[in-house]
Amino acid sequence: MTISHHPPEELLAEFAAGNLEEAHQLVVGVHVAGCTRCARFVRALEQLAGAALEEVEPVPTAPDAFDRIMSRIDELPEDTKAPPPASVTDNDVPPALRNYRIGKRRRVAPGLSMRPIELSGSGKARAFLLRSAPGSRMLEHTHTGTELTLVLEGSFSHEGGRFGPGDFDYGDDEVEHRPIVGDEGPCVCLVAMTGDLRMNGLLGRLIGPFVRL
C-alpha cells in the first residue's frame, strides 16, 4: 500500500496531544495505524510531550492518592492483561473500528450507501463508512464544515489527485469536490464530517432532499 496523501502536520500534532474530537481522532488514528511515516511523526510529538511532562511544574496529588491507588491495584483481577480483540467478521470494518458499534447500511443515493459509527457524543462531527459504486461519479458537493476522509478500499479521484487505500483527504468549506470513484471496485471510505453536505448541480438539487449523510 503506497500512501501518497497524508494529514496536515498540525492535525497529526493535535492527534498526538489528544486534542481532537472523537470523529477526527478516529479517522486520523486509522490513517496513522497504517502509515509508518505519520506514526513516526506522531511518536516524535509524543516524545516532545514527554519532555513537557518532565519539566512541568508538579501539582501535589491528594494526600491519600498513593494508598488509594495501591488498594485499587490490590483489587485488580489476577490476570490484568488486556482481553484479546473481538473477532472481526465484518469485512467492511478495519481493526481500528472493532471497538465501535457500527449501524446498518443505509442507501443514501443511487450507488451510494453509508453505515453510521456510534460515537460517545462528546464531539460535533459524525463518523460513518461511505460506500460508493465503482466508476460512479460522486455528487459534486461542498461542505459547510470540515470533512476528513480516509480511503479503506478502492479509490476516488478529484482535483487534488487520486486517493487509494490509506490515503487521507482533508476538505473544508473552501473546497469543492467532484470525486470520481475508480473502476477497480467499490470505494469504501471512513469519513468524519462536521456541518452539512451541500449537493451542487441539477442532480444534486433533485436528490438533495433524500441525501441524509
Partner: protein, 218 residues
Amino acid sequence: MIAAIRALGVPIRAEAGLPRRLEARLSFGASRGPKAKVDWADLIGRVASRQDREAFKRLFEHFAPRIKGLMQKAGCSPDEAEEIAQNAMIAVWRKASLFDPATAGAAAWIFTIARNLRIDLFRRRARAGRLEDVSELPDAPDPTEPADAVISRAQDAARIESAIKQLSAEQIAVVRLSFIEEKAHPEIASQLGIPLGTVKSRIRLAMNRLRDILDEDA
C-alpha cells in the same frame, strides 16, 4: 489553513487557564536533566518483572504530580487532573510489561497513557450524559501501537530523537504551548512577546522541519 485545522480541536479543547510564565527549561528526555540519576525505564521494568512496590512508589512520586500539573495546564480542573493522574498510575502498574524502553522514553510513554485517559474521561462523561451503558466505551485508539511490524522501531526511535534535537528551542516552545498545553495563538504571542504572525509561522516551520528531518533516508 492552520486556523482551519486548529478549529477541528474545538469541541474537546478546554478553556486555557490563566497565563503562566513560560517554562524556559527546554532540555530533552526523561533521563538527561538534573534528575538523570533516576532511570525511570528501569523502575518500570522492575514493576513489570516483579511487581516492585518500592519502584512503583518512586514512579508515583515523580510522575503523578507532573501528570496532574500538565493536565491542569491543558485545561483540566484540579479534580479531573487528579483523577487522570491516579488512573494513569494504575495503568502504569498494569501495563508496565508493555513498555519498551528501546522505542519510547518513560515520560513519553506515561504521557500517552494520561492523554488516552483524558480522552476517555471526556467521552465517558458525554456518554453518561446520554444515560448509556458506559461499560461498552471503546478504548481510545493507541497510535503508539505498531503500524507496521516490519520497520525497526528502535531505529525509528533513534531517528526521532535526533530529529527533535535539530529543532530550535524557540520551535519547541511554540509546539509545546500550542499542542501540549493547548494555548491559543494570541495567548502564545503575548506569553512569548512575539507577533501573532510569528507564532503561526514558527509553528508551521517547526512542523515542516520535523517532517522533513523524519523523512530523510526514509
